[in-house]
């Protein structure tokens, strides 16, 4: 014979600590607490991190040489910005609806990947398909994603009370897409395999690295 569990069933289990004497709270020495930034300073820091990340990309592109702007594929110009807009809010959503948040992150990640692949297909052309060229470009793309990833993790340190792994992964995804967009401003190689492998490396690796390593920093 079976019956359904009623909500009140849980309340049949007595609380073994209910009879605890309400001992005085341990004293909290406010003066000894380390300085912590308030909301205004945190928001300013995050804005500064975005500006520094964009400046970092610009300096790298200028430093290693920008491609001819007139020949820059139009499709590429938009996907980095679009993906950033899509990915960033997911990491900043307030604490409610774990399944919805994770679902949104997965959807955004898939969408961002799809946008990246479609943009690569649309803009594919001639280029060097050698492994050496791919490796060199992948290293440059990863460097372009690493800076924003580190900045993002620093700006969001102690920010996530729960779900730090996937939220930090979302920051890594945004940074990886920024790196992938920035490398297109430098690299004139339009071979499809080169675009997907070398330029796609940060899109794949930055979220993983952020989730695995950065979550320790961003967890509250």
């Amino acid at each position: 014979m079976t019956r359904e569990l009623r909500p009140d069933d849980l309340f049949d289990v007595p609380d073994p600590f209910a009879a605890s004497e309400p001992a005085p709270l341990p004293p909290l020495d406010l003066a000894s607490l380390p300085a912590s930034p308030d909301r205004g300073r945190v928001q300013a820091l995050r804005l500064a991190a975005v500006i520094v990340a964009l400046a970092f990309e610009a300096l790298l592109v200028v430093g290693i040489g920008a491609r001819e702007v007139a020949r820059l594929p139009r499709a590429v110009l938009g996907y980095g910005v679009l993906a950033l807009l899509l990915a960033s809010p997911v990491a900043l959503l307030p604490l409610r609806g774990a399944r919805a948040r994770r679902g949104a992150f997965v959807a955004v990640a898939l969408l961002a990947g799809a946008i990246f692949v479609v943009a690569s297909l649309l803009s594919a052309g001639e280029g060097d398909r050698s492994a050496v060229a791919m490796a060199e470009c992948a290293v440059a793309a990863l460097a372009m994603a690493a800076g924003p990833t580190v900045l993002a993790v620093y700006a969001m340190r102690h920010a996530f009370a729960s779900g730090a792994g996937w939220r930090t992964g979302a920051l890594g995804l945004a940074s990886g897409l920024l790196g992938a967009a920035a490398i297109r401003l430098h690299c004139p190689d339009d071979a499809l395999a080169h675009l997907l492998v070398a330029h796609g490396a940060p899109v794949l690796l930055a979220p993983l690295a952020a989730a695995l390593l950065g979550a320790r920093v961003t967890r509250a």
Binding site: T2, P7, L10, P16, S20, D38, P94, S162
Partner: protein, 220 residues
């Protein structure tokens, strides 16, 4: 100690799907008012009003201390973890989202503190026997008959021992829903899990309690 015969009132095979947000229906207007007051205090503190922290601590610390006590089973350890929790709340205050609920946020931080402590000691799965003995409480109401006192003591001993033996995820879910009075949605937010996962974990815990108490003839 001889075992009493199983209680005939012990229910059989309830279904986890039927478990609903029991505690939300039990929430009084007074509790909602206190919760809103806590949210306002945290919002003031996050905005830079340091004076709000002492009041926030006074109002929030007793709840968090009981939560930590129920997780770890040791009053002195719970006090240490409470201090660490408020240090992290202080550190993360700038990341507290305006308009968010401070209770699930602070519980999630307290849980992080407990998890970190347990990882250091590799004992997240269960509390030690010393801890349980340390937390022994008066178990029957003043003036209760010796028999009622004995039954109460045995029941709470069984509950305490079963709680300590539960897998961490089940214990957390059960403690939040049964003892902390959270709704399933609130517990899911704290645990960064889906509501169905929280229901299932609480149900598994309830099954364990039912088996343990049924074996002693004390219900539920």
């Amino acid at each position: 100690m001889p075992q009493a015969p199983p209680s005939t009132a012990t229910p059989s095979e309830p279904a986890p799907q039927a478990l609903s947000s029991a505690s939300s229906a039990r929430r009084s207007p007074e509790a909602a008012r206190l919760s809103a007051e806590l949210d306002r205090l945290m919002d003031r503190y996050a905005s830079g009003d340091n004076a709000a922290f002492a009041e926030l601590y006074r109002q929030l610390a007793p709840r968090l201390r009981m939560f930590l006590l129920r997780l770890c089973g040791a009053p002195r350890l719970a006090d240490d973890l409470l201090q660490d929790t408020f240090l992290r709340v202080h550190r993360a205050r700038g990341s507290f989202t305006a308009g968010a609920a401070v209770v699930p946020w602070s519980y999630a931080i307290a849980r992080n503190v407990y998890i970190d402590h347990s990882r250091r000691g590799r004992d997240r799965g269960r509390a030690s026997l010393d801890d349980l003995e340390e937390s022994a409480q008066p178990l029957a109401a003043p003036g209760a008959s010796p028999h009622a006192e004995l039954v109460g003591k045995r029941t709470l001993d069984v509950v305490r021992a079963t709680l300590a033996k539960l897998p961490a995820m089940q214990r957390e879910a059960f403690v939040l829903v049964r003892f902390e009075g959270m709704s399933i949605a609130e517990a899911a937010a704290v645990l960064d899990a889906s509501e169905s996962a929280v229901k299932l974990r609480a149900f598994r815990a309830y099954e364990a309690f039912r088996a343990a108490l049924g074996a002693t003839g004390e219900g539920p």
